[in-house]
């Protein structure tokens, strides 16, 4: 048999039908939904008199529009409240398990899936959210879909898909202190550009990736879409199996043994072909920070803001000029030392317990700069509980940061947590698009370590000076 990549293996085992003149009908093992991209899909079901085919393979949460202030307070945003109420009704009407704000398991959809053992190797996983590739950390083929497709999966548990090419991204060697998973993925995207992976699925490989924890792998896979890829994944290994074992929805007993035997067949065969390949040397990486208005506009913390004069392509040049104008930055200067107003630690990229531990390790015994407002938003209520058990909440609060309830929060500023026009943030989220964190707001993407260090000093900071 021809050697296959992990992506090809997962694909092959999910083909329901392959007819001439039509894309492949691909089976979906797990469908995650949230309040923002599902209402119109439920409307389609009602209009056509359809049911959710497999409510038992569908999980819903509320995360995007949810306030991160106390759950005891009434919700002031009536439009957001109506969206949450509609989600509750939709899940009730169609028999879908919902983790709403009253449950202890609510959280960002891409945090709770792995946390509860729902995310498993070899699965096909979709969600009406572009950061669904997060689940690829477990060796699942996980990708974001639009609302029409959310309706398709509701009605048929399938999607019409054409195969993607595999793109091997190898990271080899040991990371230096202060350099983390977020810096790896920001470096990858800076290298290939935000359209560099279009039409492909990233397979992250190499000794550096193997040495990462599951949460670190999730951070990397999460931002695959920021490199334009449909999905991104890491082949499962003992780190993966240890993480899953014992979680609520993980297979148990004989089912576990059978699952493990299947999962061990997944890694890419020797000799399988990749359409594209990229290799990075981990030892050369520094903490990364973005200066512009897309995640590909990133530089090492010691680097300089690029000069449009050095860019030859006319559209690229005008885009860089536009980005620097929006960000009000000068080419040739360092970003390090630039004054900031807000620090956000959170989002499906960096809101897990290890991210909070990393931020707390820098902040312990220190104070947030008086000119900075800092928000720490755990990815789930379970992460929040764990952080409290470890006393991280106290470290954040004593430093002067705000420690909130779980949700997407200031990553996309749908819930009232947002930048004011002109403000600068250092954010552990995934997008620095114009206005992403609030109209007129300006975002520097970075790791939790860099974010915490910058909160202390009030300027973009090389965390290595505080370690």
């Amino acid at each position: 048999m021809k050697p296959r990549t992990i992506v090809e293996k997962i694909w092959d085992s999910h083909v329901v039908a392959e007819k001439p003149g039509a894309p492949v009908l691909l089976y979906i093992d797990l469908h995650l939904t949230h309040e923002v991209t599902s209402p119109q899909a439920f409307s389609t079901l009602r209009e056509r008199g359809l049911k959710v085919r497999r409510p038992d393979l569908t999980i819903a949460t509320m995360d995007h529009s949810t306030p991160t202030t106390s759950r005891d307070l009434p919700m002031l945003d009536t439009v957001g409240k109506a969206q949450l109420d509609q989600m509750e009704k939709n899940c009730k009407d169609f028999g879908i398990r919902l983790y709403d704000l009253k449950t202890t398991k609510q959280g960002i959809v891409h945090v709770i899936g792995p946390e509860q053992g729902l995310t498993q190797p070899g699965m096909t996983i979709v969600c009406g959210d572009s950061h669904t590739a997060t689940h690829g950390a477990f060796g699942a083929l996980a990708f974001g879909i639009g609302t029409s497709q959310v309706g398709h999966v509701f009605a048929t548990q399938c999607l019409l898909q054409t195969p993607s090419q595999s793109y091997a991204i190898r990271v080899e060697g040991a990371l230096k202190p202060g350099v983390s998973a977020k810096d790896i993925i920001l470096a990858v995207i800076a290298r290939i550009g935000i359209g560099g992976g279009t039409g492909t699925v990233f397979e992250y490989q190499g000794s550096t990736i193997r040495s990462l924890s599951m949460e670190e792998r999730m951070t990397i896979c999460n931002m695959s879409i920021e490199g334009g890829a449909r999905a991104g994944l890491v082949a499962p290994d003992d780190t993966t199996y240890q993480y899953i074992s014992g979680r609520e929805f993980a297979p148990k007993g004989a089912d576990w043994d059978a699952a493990l035997a299947r999962w061990k067949q997944l890694p890419t065969d020797q000799g399988a072909q990749y359409a594209k390949e990229l290799t990075l040397d981990a030892a050369t990486l520094e903490p990364m920070v973005t200066f512009g208005t897309n995640p590909g506009m990133g530089i090492p913390i010691s680097g300089a803001i690029p000069d449009p004069a050095s860019v030859s392509d006319p559209i690229e040049k005008s885009d860089l000029i536009k980005a620097l104008k929006y960000m009000d930055l000068e080419p040739g200067k360092q970003l390090k030392g630039h004054k900031i107003d807000v620090v956000f630690v959170g989002s499906c990229t960096n809101s897990r317990i290890s991210d909070l531990r990393a931020a707390a390790s820098v902040m312990k015994g220190r104070k947030v700069s008086p000119s900075v407002r800092m928000l720490v938003v755990p990815g789930s209520m379970q992460v929040k509980k764990q952080a409290e058990a470890e006393g991280l909440d106290k470290i954040f609060r004593e430093a002067g940061a705000d420690f909130r309830e779980a949700g997407c929060s200031m990553c996309l500023a749908m819930n009232g947590d947002q930048l004011e026009p002109g403000e600068y943030s250092v954010s552990t989220s995934n997008r620095n698009f114009e206005g992403r964190q609030g109209k007129g707001g300006r975002t520097f993407l970075a790791s939790p370590l860099t974010a915490a260090a910058s909160a202390i000093t009030g300027v973009v900071t090389d965390v290595r000076t505080l370690l």
Partner: protein
């Protein structure tokens, strides 16, 4: 609605990597219907904070009245999976977007909403960028774009999406017809499909 031909002036937005947060900002995503999203289209490029139009934005020009074709820079529609982006474009009368490339999710979403993503080679793209408000013809059945110069070039589209657009049908109807195959797949794989309790 059947999709066959468009003949329209082109509005030119020569910016690469236009993300879906620019096409429609997240604050418009709280709607539980598809209605009324048109006003969110390019909202923060199109209007000042007080709601007044920015006169230099392309879709605010007097010539933009009735425009059905938007020509943009590379990698249009990157970022979020929000289908609100094609909904907002369509609600503003846009029926085709022409670029050198599209982000994967946006492209799929557009095709499901009678919005045609047209990929053209760099030289054709350059010619279009130099011809704002010129009239361009797009023939989906023939898969051709007729440029202002009169030159006709072909563009690619997968056969299935083309059929759905030309016949005005959606994918879901086709998928529902596959029910026996889906049921057979589920019956065979019952042990390996993870069923949540």
């Amino acid at each position: 609605m059947k999709f066959e031909k468009i003949e329209s002036k082109i509005a030119v937005l020569p910016i690469d990597n236009i993300d879906t947060d620019q096409i429609i900002p997240a604050r418009y995503l709280k709607s539980i219907s598809k209605d009324g999203l048109g006003e969110g289209l390019f909202r923060d490029w199109r209007r000042n904070a007080d709601g007044t139009p920015k006169p230099d934005f392309v879709l605010n020009q007097p010539q933009a009245q009735g425009v059905e074709i938007l020509v943009t820079g590379d990698n249009f529609g990157c970022g979020s999976s929000r289908e609100h982006a094609p909904w907002a474009l369509v609600q503003n009368g846009i029926r085709a977007v022409v670029s050198t490339s599209f982000a994967d999710i946006f492209k799929g979403n557009a095709l499901k909403n009678q919005l045609l993503p047209v990929v053209v080679p760099a030289d054709v793209h350059a010619e279009l960028l130099k011809s704002p408000w010129a009239t361009v013809k797009i023939d989906l059945v023939a898969q051709t774009v007729t440029l202002p110069s009169g030159r006709t070039v072909e563009f690619p589209i997968d056969g299935f999406s083309k059929t759905c657009l030309v016949e005005g049908v959606d994918e879901l109807g086709y998928m529902l017809q596959q029910d026996p195959a889906i049921a057979a797949f589920e019956a065979e794989r019952v042990g390996s499909v993870n069923t949540l309790r």
